[in-house]
Symmetry: C2
Subunit: 149 residues, 2 copies
DNA sequence: CCCATTTAGATTGCATACAATTAAATTTAT
DNA sequence: ATAAATTTAATTGTATGCAATCTAAATGGG
């Protein structure tokens, strides 16, 4: 890559990732609309369907999101009747998020989504798995650099 | 991958991409702050440094963004004195974005950024190139699916 | 025990993103 | 030519994201 092309948009890995993330989110949109969820609400529930009754802090660690994003989002999910928010008795600083009956039931409707999505994107399972491994590794690397400087 | 793990967050390619995009943007933040730019403003200028005097439509095609995002962003860049916005005389529907003298000069300060970023992320050039090619291919595929359904 | 430090959430302010709609200009079909 | 369809931006409304700050609670060293 010559010096003149360093700043070219189409040579930038970060941009490809950034644009891809948004295009993927748009692909999710019609599927999630049927469940009445946004993408961020959906991934929040993905975590809760794996491990229920967790703190906002832990949710943030899993999702790479902070309380500035999560607090309003969780209040929304609470208003929708999908989760409850309650202070931890053991540590009053923490807030514990738990699924409601309705939140648990919604999982059934969501089971088809990953399959449908991958099919729509037209990626082979092998390709998806390889890319997933690489992206996860890159994610760890980039995150590890956040506090170094 | 068994049935039970389909909905697991850490098995989702889209989430890895989405989280990676955000972590990358955070890594850019201190570097771009010195230029007084946000990431989206930065990539908009990347396009203009490649091809000046283009329409909002073309900018949107390059960046995968629509006028809902670009119009306020371009007004901001205009207020910062980096670009001008004027209707196309040949086609009054279009608005042509052009760099100002100041906008052109900013390119010099931005030249180091891609290098610094890649170094910070700790990715080898080979690895970055391979991943970039795969992500670009995936981006095209996902985008191509947007109007199919 | 007590004060300084740390930690967890909430809040504020700013900047995206994007769906949906609107308005104006251009193109197309008849 | 002219009405209908299409195209381009702008606007509106909703939902993130995140830096920076604030508050309350817990922790830890002296």
């Amino acid at each position: 890559m010559d010096t003149g092309s360093i700043l070219k948009l189409d040579n930038q890995l970060c941009f490809a990732i950034y644009a891809c993330a948004r295009e993927f989110t748009k692909l999710y949109h019609p599927l999630l609309k049927e469940l009445g969820l946004t993408y961020t609400q959906y991934i929040t529930l993905l975590v809760l369907w794996e491990e229920d009754r967790i703190t906002v802090k832990h949710l943030g660690t899993r999702l790479y999101l902070d309380s500035g994003t999560l607090t309003p989002l969780l209040k929304k999910l609470e208003a929708m009747g999908l989760v409850t928010r309650e202070r931890d008795r053991q540590d009053e600083r923490s807030v514990i998020i738990a699924l409601t009956e309705q939140g648990i039931l919604l999982k059934e409707k969501a089971l088809d989504i990953p399959e449908q999505l991958i099919c729509q994107a037209g990626v082979s399972p092998t390709e998806a798995a390889g890319l997933h491994a690489q992206m996860t590794e890159l994610l760890k690397k980039v995150q590890a650099q956040q506090q170094v400087t």
